[in-house]
Symmetry: C2
Subunit: 133 residues, 2 copies
């Protein structure tokens, strides 16, 4: 989507994402647009986050092409950046990868509930510098 | 969408939105999920923002049912809030309303370009306290 704002390359998008702690899953729920903030990390070319089994995100995004957006915008100067990834979310089930990711991505679920770990391959990754000043 | 997290009532959602300077339009572009940060204000029950005529947002959201999301999450404690509005965006053309909104919502477009002012009626407004701690 062209906007006239400076576009960021893939490497810069991944670098900015890696420095952000909070991003937003962008998806459709009940035929309506939805977005929900999550803690996440960048693992290789994938966005990884965890969700509890009693939450709605697992059903809404697992196996679905979703967006993932993060930004850092200064309201006063209206400058900053925004990055949008799009890819098909999947659940990570490989024990070795889960063991490696676990300490980097804490999630507290209700007692007796184990978090699910989801990944979004950044099949499409676009970003823009916001320079309205 | 039930999540087990404490739900916020409409008044609280509007109050939190009114205190946020940056929110994100959540929409579909080229059949893919998209989100884009904008400065905005709450005017009555509506979310109001401006966009320049050479930007992509006008075409993508005017007359379209879109989402609008804002949040404030502390990455360390993973607590905060997230609010999601859904409604059909429309362009405000009433001169009196535009005159009243203008000073509250500055937008700098390229020389010779006049910003368009869009509103999203909060037909649906949901919010949650994020209390993962």
């Amino acid at each position: 989507m062209s906007s006239g704002l400076p576009e960021l390359d893939r490497g810069e998008c991944l670098r900015l994402l890696a420095g952000a702690a909070i991003g937003r899953l962008v998806f459709t729920h009940a035929a309506m647009p939805a977005a929900h903030p999550v803690n996440f990390l960048v693992d290789g070319d994938e966005i990884v986050f965890r969700t509890c089994p009693d939450g709605p995100l697992l059903r809404a995004v697992n196996g679905v092409v979703v967006g993932f957006q993060a930004d850092d915008v200064d309201p006063a100067t209206r400058t900053g950046w925004s990055v949008l990834a799009v890819g098909e979310a999947y659940e990570i089930t490989d024990p070795q990868r889960l063991a490696e990711l676990g300490p980097r991505l804490p999630t507290r679920c209700a007692p007796g509930r184990t978090a699910h770990t989801l990944a979004i391959p950044t099949r499409r990754l676009t970003g823009r510098a916001l320079t309205h000043a």
